[in-house]
Structures are given as C-alpha cells and as structure tokens.
Symmetry: none
Subunit: 249 residues, 2 copies
C-alpha cells in the first residue's frame, strides 16, 4: 500500500509535553503531519521540545489552527479516536481497522484525538466519518494523549510494513544446520559421553541418547552453532587446561 499517510489532529490539547510526545510517537512510525487545533497554551510551546526528542527537527511538521473546524477543513476522510463508541450512527472500528479504512481512501485523511481532560466532544465526533476505539480496560480507560497517538501510529506502521519490509522469524541470521550436521554432532557428543562413562546403565543408552537428541533438535541450530558446540565438546573431552594447545591443529 502506498496510501498517503494520515494527518494527526490534536483537538484543543492542553500540555505542551503531550504535543511533543505525540510528535515523537508519530515520527517513530513515519507520520509527519501534525495539526494542533486551539492549543490551550498557544503555539509554539517550549514545553513540547524536550519530549519531542528531536521530532520537530527531523520530520514532523506542526501547524496550529484556531479551531477544530479549521484544522479539519481540507480533510476528505476523518476518523475520531475515542474511548467509547458513543452510540452515534457512525462506523466503529479498532486501530488496525481504522488503518485499513484510511488506506482505502484516495482523499486526504486524518485521525483526530481529543484533549487530556475530556477527549473529543460530541460536536467534534460529529464531524468525523468513523470512530476508532481501543479495547481498553473498562475500569481504567483513560489513555495518556501521546499513548493514544502511538497506538494508532504503530498500527499504521504495521500495515505499511506488511508490504514485505518485515523479515520473518530467524531472518538472515545464519544457515540452518542440515540433518547431517546434526547427526554428526550427536555422534560426536555421544561418543565422548560414552567414553566418559555417562551412559549408565547401558540398557538405558538408547533412551538417554534420544532424549538428548530431541532437546537439541528443537533448537533448530545453524551450522555455526553446530561447529561451536562441537568445539565445546572437544574442549571438555580433552580435559581441563588442554584445549588451548590443541585448538592450534
């Protein structure tokens, strides 16, 4: 997906610190357009700088507006972030659902967050096309403003990443050992254990050996790890203090 990234609108935010934190959260996931509508303490606000951790210099552009209406005037598709569905006749979704709906738009889009004290007013929600709500703990439902922003920003980043940028499990960290490598390692280990008298009583040998093999197979080792472990077996088997010499050969 290469949908245009949504604007983040903070409606009547109170604390500069939260504006700074929200900007940092946005840039963490590649969102760069921040609008602040009727900020209580004006704009610019020096309290925002430390919490932004450089976000204003490194990509987030902030524009202040006199009102929420002005801040969303040119927005084609607008999502309201609220703690509860509100019982309004609007489609309601979660964070990843909102990202899907936003990505489906050819128009300019935005997500609007309410202020620290009251969240979005019903009048502001009424301006929006859809409601995004998070599955919060009903008994402790109030998120910090910047926390609410990063949950959405992460969902946005997550969806962008699925185009193939994300690497799979164990990605790029080494060539997996072949079954042959593993068997060679087991035989080496068991040979030395046998010489050390480990397999006792003898009739338990097959079971003990199988248990060890099972444990090792489960780790899905790489060829390098097999080599490392064989080096360790060799060192132990040669006895204390002797390994350094023989590592030369």
């Amino acid at each position: 997906m290469s949908a245009q990234a949504p604007v983040i609108i903070l409606a009547e935010p109170q604390l500069g610190e939260n504006i700074g934190s929200a900007a940092r959260a946005m840039l963490n996931f590649g969102l760069t357009e921040l609008r602040i509508a009727a900020p209580r303490d004006g704009w610019p606000n020096p309290a925002a700088e430390p919490l932004a951790a450089g976000a204003f210099d490194e990509g987030v552009e902030v524009t202040a507006f006199e009102s929420v209406e002005a801040a969303c005037a040119d927005i084609g598709y607008l999502v309201a972030a609220t703690a509860r569905p509100r019982g309004m006749e609007k489609p309601v979704t979660n964070a990843s659902g909102a990202v899907e709906w936003l990505q489906g738009q050819a128009r300019k889009t935005a997500v609007m967050f309410g202020n620290e004290a009251q969240g979005l007013s019903n009048n502001h929600v009424a301006l929006c096309d859809a409601i995004m709500t998070y599955p919060v703990n009903k008994d402790f439902a109030s998120l910090n403003l910047a926390q609410a922003v990063i949950v959405f920003a992460h969902a946005w980043g997550e969806m962008q990443g699925q185009a193939g940028r994300f690497e799979g499990a164990n990605a790029g960290v080494g060539e997996p050992a072949s079954r042959e490598d593993l068997i060679g390692m087991f035989e080496h280990f068991e040979y030395e254990l046998d010489r050390a008298g480990y397999f006792y009583p003898p009739d338990k040998t097959p079971l003990m050996s199988r248990n060890l093999r099972n444990a090792f197979v489960r780790g899905q080792w790489t060829t390098q790890e097999v080599r490392t472990f064989r080096g360790a077996i060799k060192a132990l088997a040669l006895g204390r203090g002797k390994a350094r010499i023989t590592r030369e050969d």
Copy 2:
C-alpha cells in the same frame, strides 16, 4: 481468551516517570504485573506516582529485583522488546505475533523492555526466547519506554477480544525449565568450558558465551532436559572413564 497475562519487565529503567507511565499503559489494557530490574533510582520512586495516574492503586503490582536475571528467574517464556532483530538466532516477530506466541504458552510469560539510554543489552536479549520488534521509522527509531510498553499492551488487549483458545506449543513434553534453571546450566557449562581452556582468546569470551546461550535458549528445554545436559557436562568435565563412579554420589 484465558491465557495468563504476561508480566512486563523493565530492565534497569532510569526514570521514575517512565515507570509510572508504563504502569498506566499496562492497566489501560488489563496487564497488572510489573517487575523492575535494578532501577537506577531505586524503588519506590516518587517520580513514578503522578504519571501512573492511579495505576498502582487500581491494580498494577510492582516488584523490584536486584538484577535482570533475578527478575526473570521464574519466567518460562520470555520475549525481548528490541528496536532491531540483532542478528541473533532467535525467532523475531511483531507485536501481534508476540501476543500469539505468548498466548500459546502454558507457562508463565513475560515481555522485557530495555532502558531509556541503550535498550536491552545483548546479554539480556540472550536470555530471551524470542524477539519482538516494531516496524519503526529507521531514521527515528527510538521509542519512549512507556510508549513501547503501550504498543505491546494494546496488541495484547486487542487479541483478548478475539475468540479461540490456544493449546500450548510444546504441550505435554514435560515441565518447562525456568529461566533460573537455564542460567544455572549456562554457568555450569561455561565454568567447565573455561577450565578446559575453551574460551580463547579471552576477549571473545562474552561473544562465545552469548552465542552458546542463544542456541540453547531457542530449544525451550524442560527441567528434565536441563538436568540431563548438566549430567553430560559433569561427565565430560570429570574426564574419560570417571563418571560412573561419581554418579553414585
């Protein structure tokens, strides 16, 4: 969903404010067990209170530990939150993938976050079963600590809303080893390897040790497997032909 909620571990956190914010973020999505390992400014820390917004009184229980190792001693399945996959041999996933993996465990689980300055050290990541990483902006990758926590907490809350009960991965293979068992096994193994002159040159010791630990952690061993392997180490270390005698003791 009725999987046991994961513990959140903060490894060597610096600012009380972030501990408070993290607690609020946790409780927003129903997570209640917070552990802080070796907090720089001690614990309790009055700076945490205002940012917690009541979370400590309304459900989040905090326990402080002297070290990261102690904080994760009883954890069966441990996920490291890091900004990058690290090139270690561990499964890597995103937030929702981590939630799935955590829900699949019958054991006690945790997600560990590093501190504000450096994130998790490689040594701490080596103790973990898996890595969780977010699709961050490569040019602005550093999340605030509590922001990192809420992204995971939200993913957890999101998944609780969905139906279906996971059966535990590795179900029925025996009691999983605790982190304490594993650490004890590593220390035993490394002690004997060191006596055998395996760690050479000496400045490579931390790396060699970490590579071995990573390989073993990946197997998610049981307590029985840990005991078996410790028996094997002991046998090899005692030298050829001597193990049978000392197994009597």
